[in-house]
Amino acid sequence: MMKDLNDLISSGFFLLLSVGLFFFITPNFVEVYNNMGLRASFFPNIATIILFIFSLILLLNSGLRVVKAKRVSKDFSNFNLKQIRPFFMALCILIYIILFEKTGFLFSTPIALIGMMLLMGQRHIRLLAVNTAIVLGFLYFVFAYVLNLNLH
């Protein structure tokens, strides 16, 4: 049941995406007209049409299964904060990228690494410190000395 609902949601999204691309974005391509071949929009349009057809098939299949099912319910009582940890991890990576851009490698990396390890449940201070020092040293050696990159 949950799988069908997921298929319904995702196929609906892809259906809307294909319609949006085909009617609103791809027509705005700057085209070079000639009689010798295909235009820039040809392959994106082909992919969009195939995406539309198969999303529609999936939508109809999963929709029928959802309608046939007796009840649609989801139990939210077991929800806990750990379930949205991937969201926080993605946020951590985004913050790391922004911090890296603004402050450089040496400042941002220990903060991000310790933050991520704490988020994933590592509480042992010695392990946090040792791993951070090893990763920082190894990456700094490879990227700053071997690859000669500017890490600020």
Binding site: N35, A40, F43, P44, I97, L113, L149
Partner: protein
């Protein structure tokens, strides 16, 4: 020629040359095993170190780095679902599921021996058939490339897992991502939304790291029920090695991958990633257990690794015999040859025979060193499995971020990596396979360029695709592949229905 090669072993078996090969291999393997750092990057870094060396020693080190780089990518692909190099992307399909089943050691062993065997035979082919194979490869023009790409697209069905519809949807998404940037014929901007940095398109490595590594980090952040925790702890059972009978069982696939790798590697412009995809598809089609592919099949790992490693020998054929670089890595090698005052091409075999034959000998020695370096690398990188996952995956996230930054020192690339990480995570949560997306992304630019060039040559007449015997052969193979895939899918569906009853 055989006598000349045997004599040239005498030139190569000196301490300096052997050390150069060993260090080149080790350096390449290390670079291949760190996500984001490619074999090309490794070779480019070795070049300045070779300025003072003789051309033979320099090329022994550079070719060692090339071989090591191509092999090294398989280690993180198996252990942490992160292809170290783009060519190892196919290895993740079965390598990582094997690691999750506690067979990481087996998978890495098969990857190593497949690489060694394929590499050895590809080198032999390079030595004996370089000139004649190079002449055949010149017969491939845009229509032939286009037909190869159409044939390669049938692979989508083979890696779609349980739902072919979802596989095709994922392939279309990959196809659309590949069209971002300037179009290959008229440079019209497509899907760039006014962003200058998107004009050059999406970098394959950025996409690979995002889709596979970052999405894996996000998956690992989820609270896991006990059974899944057990599967993760299985990763530490690294000492489980591949047996001789398992290697022997994979030998037909390895040999098939070797032949395919050499033939496709010899055609400039296709590259090892497409080869490993094609070989994987071919192995699945002919396997007695196609249902195991994508779920942890030894044959799948062998197919992927033999295909991409054999391409190393293949790509050297047009480089040495004709002076044509088949991909970016051989283009870097071509530059290195010129730095050392050598002009590749048919004349190289006559005017610089004292260089060519010792280089062939060094390739064989590098192949013989590969198991030693590979075993050392497996031991070193196996330590990864002892690290608790709440320390390992944050480290993977940081290493991947730095690897992507190292590709072009672009912060836009880092944001793209995260974007693809989130896309990969969402697709995995909704049970969409990532492999077809990757296939669509890799094949679209090659296929689009070939089809549009062909039609431009023929003034828009599609009959050009049916004129050459090579094109017709690949079109016939495509039809056969589709029929076989439909048959396999029906058989699998019938089997699962019977099991449900």
């Amino acid at each position: 020629m055989l006598v000349t090669i045997i004599h040239s072993f005498g030139d190569i078996l000196t301490f300096t040359n052997l050390a150069a090969i060993f260090l080149g291999l080790s350096f390449g393997t290390l670079f291949g095993a760190i996500p984001g750092l490619t074999a090309t990057m490794g070779i480019a870094l070795v070049i300045p170190l070779t300025y003072e060396m003789s051309p033979v020693t320099a090329f022994a080190a550079l070719l060692g780095a090339y071989k090591g780089g191509v092999y090294g990518g398989s280690i993180p692909a198996i252990l942490i679902n992160t292809p170290g190099t783009p060519v190892a992307a196919v290895t993740t399909f079965d390598g990582y599921p094997m690691a999750r089943q506690g067979k990481a050691g087996k998978a890495m062993d098969i990857a190593l021996w497949s690489s060694v065997i394929a590499d050895f035979f590809a080198t032999i082919c390079l030595i004996f058939f370089a000139v004649s194979l190079a002449k055949i490869s010149l017969k491939f023009g845009p229509p032939e490339y286009a037909c190869i790409m159409i044939f390669a697209l049938t692979l989508v069905a083979g890696v779609s897992g349980d739902s072919m519809i979802k596989g095709i949807i994922a392939a279309c998404i990959g196809f659309l991502f590949a069209t971002v940037g300037l179009d290959p014929m008229h440079s019209s901007p497509r899907y760039i939304f006014g962003t200058v940095s998107l004009m050059s398109g999406i970098n394959l490595m950025v996409m690979l790291i995002g889709l596979f590594a970052i999405s894996e980090v996000l998956i690992q952040c989820e609270p896991k029920p006990d059974d899944i925790k057990d599967k993760i702890s299985n990763l530490s059972k690294i000492k489980d090695r591949a047996t001789w009978s398992e290697i022997r069982h994979c030998l037909p696939i390895i040999f098939k991958g070797t032949v395919l790798g050499i033939l496709i590697g010899a055609i400039p412009g296709i590259g090892p990633t497409t080869t490993s995809f094609l070989n994987y598809s071919e192995a699945r089609r002919t396997s007695k257990h196609p249902e195991l592919f994508g779920k942890g099949s030894l044959e799948g790992v062998a197919a992927a690794e033999s295909g991409n490693n054999a391409t190393v020998g293949g790509t050297l054929i047009p480089l040495l015999a004709l002076g044509i670089p088949g991909d970016i890595t051989t283009a870097v090698l071509l530059g290195a040859l010129m730095i050392h005052g050598l002009t590749p091409g048919p004349a190289l075999f006559i005017t610089n025979a004292d260089f060519v034959y010792p280089i062939f000998a060094s390739l064989i020695v590098a192949t013989l060193f590969l198991p030693i370096v590979g075993k050392l690398a497996i031991r070193l990188f196996s330590l990864i499995t002892r690290i608790p996952k709440n320390m390992l995956f944050p480290t993977v996230a940081i290493t991947c971020t730095m690897g992507v930054y190292g590709l072009g020192t672009s912060f836009t690339d880092l944001k793209m990596m995260l974007f693809f990480g989130v896309i990969g995570y969402i697709l995995r949560k909704f049970n969409y396979p990532l492999a077809p997306l990757l296939i669509g992304f890799i094949l679209e630019p090659l296929g689009e360029r070939a089809i549009r060039q062909s039609l431009a040559i023929s003034q828009g007449d599609p009959g050009i695709f049916f004129k050459s015997p090579i094109s017709i052969l690949f079109l016939v193979l495509t039809i056969i592949a589709v029929i076989v895939l439909v048959y396999i899918n029906r058989k699998t569906a019938d089997q699962s229905k019977r099991t449900l009853r």
